[in-house]
Symmetry: none
Subunit: 236 residues, 2 copies
């Protein structure tokens, strides 16, 4: 579970970054990525991190989400609202069980969005699952560090539980491999006149959602790309 | 669970009181007692409470623990350390189950001690149980509001309060529609020379497993078959 990465996106308040780092270290998590934080580093973050300032010092600051998840196979977004998107929803317990089950072959990142507005639709498109913390419907929006605390707590509990024996999958394709696949797919669809680059509508987004649900492993993504290559060679 | 009381004892930082109030309201708890807080009320507490300032305004400030638990039947102390005291220990999940089980007849208070030193031995003597959050042994001490968050989260889960509805999917493709799709896919893969009908190996079986995991809905299966048709038309 140490390998599970926490990604904070566009965090406004440095105190929240520090509190999230403390929550992570308390629960035994070690990898923090920050995508475009408003202020970082910051004395307030360090103060709120308390004894977790080492984790904060090792935090990786990047300017694009892609960089934070390029090497990650399983991407889970924390969401306060019920989204109408067809991304499967998990509660924190199921989320932790899923991560634990995949941990031997596949690394996971959990994305936490902006304090006020959460994750954008583009960011949600990168997620295989959403995790939603059950809340008071009259006041559902947790502080971001509090949300990290709950999700990390369930990870710690799940790591301590006796192992189920799930079927072993191969290593899941990473986000970077999936992006190469989507690009290959899009090029091919344009080449066969199925996708009009001047009027793409929602086609690629819908295909992304579909393949995101599949979570192809490394062998499967090789098969799919082999098919695309065969289609392209026929075109020449 | 609304009736479960949170008691913060001798809290030093008003921000922690505010953050605890927010965590409580997010999880549906309503009753906050403060025993000798260092600073209260406080602008910092109100700021950190965010939309839970109503709960903070109703908080009851007392100068003795006895006053905060006089009407309470079940007293549980939050403890970071393993105590040598003969008080039964619960993890947060068992703690929530116990409270939920007693809720019809008995009110519960959960005590959270000072930021640095926790609960005194006298305070521990008032407790029927201790609740201990599982932590990283190298860094076990949670922020007090983070501890309130975890314990309150388990209370909400145990109360089994109405779940949010999952996002609605379109109707999933039927088995018959999936068979037509697999036939269409196989014909297309033969046409582009990706699949050799004389030596099919396990290819179609692997693709079946992949698409079976996707569970495409009716719109998605139409998109996929449209792509196959576009590939075939290019072949002619």
């Amino acid at each position: 579970m140490k390998q599970t990465r926490i990604v904070l996106i566009n965090t406004s308040h440095p105190g929240n970054i520090g509190a999230a780092a403390r929550a992570m270290k308390n629960m035994g998590l070690e990898e923090l990525y920050l995508v475009n934080p408003k202020v970082f580093p910051s004395a307030e973050a360090t103060a709120r991190a308390s004894g977790a300032d080492d984790l904060l010092a090792r935090a990786v600051c990047v300017d694009k989400l892609e960089t934070a998840i390029g090497d990650i196979g399983l991407v889970i977004g924390a969401s306060a609202r019920s989204r109408t998107l067809p991304v499967p929803m998990l509660d924190p317990r199921r989320c932790a069980e899923l991560i634990e089950q995949q941990a031997e072959t596949t690394r996971t990142a959990i994305l936490f969005g902006r304090e006020r507005t959460g994750l954008t639709n583009d960011e949600l498109d990168r997620c295989h699952y959403l995790v939603q913390i059950p809340t008071n419907p009259d006041y559902p929006s947790l502080n971001v560090a509090a949300a990290v605390q709950v999700v990390a707590y369930e990870l710690r509990v799940a790591a301590g539980l006796p192992e189920n024996l799930p079927p072993k999958h191969h290593r899941l394709a990473t986000s970077g491999e999936m992006e190469l696949f989507y690009q290959h797919l899009e090029n091919t669809l344009v080449a066969i006149d199925f996708l009009d680059p001047d009027n793409p509508r929602q086609l690629m987004r819908r295909l992304r959602r579909l393949f995101s649900r599949v979570q192809p492993d490394e062998n499967e993504i090789n098969i799919l790309r082999g098919i695309l290559t065969a289609v392209q060679q026929r075109r020449r």
